[in-house]
Subunit: 223 residues, 2 copies
């Protein structure tokens, strides 16, 4: 395997690695040991030529007629995704969802750790949840610097989302996972990702209604 | 606009509608009023020829040089996704995450309603959360039929995920949103979707580290 330092990866390839990693993990969990670029292409909706070119950056990974070794690829991508270095996370919003995240605290992934929690509600301040004390928003800037935190998870509802995200950005955090689906403005150097449960559920129900019972549509088999 | 009954949509097109809908909503929330197939293609990573062919099934939607009207497309796809008919949902697992979902109960979407909640923990049974009473798992089959429920959300951890999903399937439910990311087995006619917060967070951190500071990689601009 080439070492990280030796690998020169185009931007577009690098952006696809989390997608590859996610689906390879799913395949592995389903017991799949190897996969051809064509099958993988159908699964993830990326052209197989793109997949082969992307994978070629990481050395000799596939063999014609055999396909790619799933666990080997996971190892390579896991190294690239740097999943073994501890990431220190701040939680903003310690309501029911925040509590659920703190209690779970990504326990199956040693490298992901929520180390601080913040809330605007005075009644929440000082509560200890799974070893983490809830602090006032005004402490965020100082604690983020002191604890070396670069990532935040916000469970604050849409109505206060922009306001809270502004405070998170002001504290120096550059990566935000936001459970309020309404889009907020962040500076260019800040990465924000949304968890939109409503859209996930709508997609699921739509797929169930139309691809199981075929009640609502006149589906043809073309395409 | 063509009515639903008149539209004949190929399977492959139908499967892309939730993706189109999701991104168009995002564009709308960001203030974008129209979009060209080429720009949309770059955003969602679907070839622009595919997008134009897909959209052509819904009548005259785009004009050369002008692009597509975002709010019109949202209206068309919203009708197709049938977002105005009430969907009755069962929640399985009334812990912190379950409580958070019940308290929110998709309030911004009138058509999505959690109408029942179930838990295996005797201490939870009988508790009322946002108007919904938590019931024992043994009541599920009967209530699902009585209440006309077709969709379930499971917040049960991975360790009991397969067991609970089996019970959900046995009750007659055909669509499951699962917050335990470990893959479980379901019959072919059952649709299951996973919310994998760990992977979402890893992707976010990876994008932040590599596309902001460019510390770890030697990115080139090729591709």
């Amino acid at each position: 395997m080439k070492t990280e330092e030796e690998i020169k990866i185009p931007n577009a390839t690098a952006k696809r690695i989390p997608l590859y990693y996610r689906y390879l993990k799913t395949l592995q969990e389903s017991g799949v040991e190897r996969i051809k670029s064509k099958e993988f292409s159908q699964l993830i909706q990326v052209p197989s030529a793109t997949i082969r070119r992307d994978f070629s950056h990481f050395g000799e990974l596939g063999r014609s007629g055999y396909g790619y070794d799933v666990s080997y690829l996971i190892e390579v991508f896991s190294n690239i995704l740097n999943t073994k270095v501890e990431k220190r996370i701040a939680l903003v919003g310690a309501g029911n969802l925040g509590k659920a995240l703190l209690n779970n605290n990504f326990r199956r992934n040693e490298n992901l750790n929520i180390v601080c929690a913040f809330d605007a509600n005075p009644e929440m301040i000082g509560q200890k949840i799974n070893g983490v004390t809830v602090r006032p928003m005004s402490d965020m800037k100082e604690l983020v610097r002191k604890e070396g935190i670069t990532t935040a998870i916000s469970t604050v509802p849409s109505s206060h989302s922009q306001e809270v995200v502004d405070q998170i950005v002001d504290s120096g955090i550059t990566a935000i996972l936001n459970f309020a689906p309404g889009r907020v403005k962040v500076p260019e150097q800040v990465k924000i990702q949304y968890i939109d449960l409503t859209t996930e559920l709508q997609t699921l129900i739509y797929m169930d209604e139309n691809f199981t019972s075929r009640k609502h549509f006149n589906f043809s088999n073309q395409d």
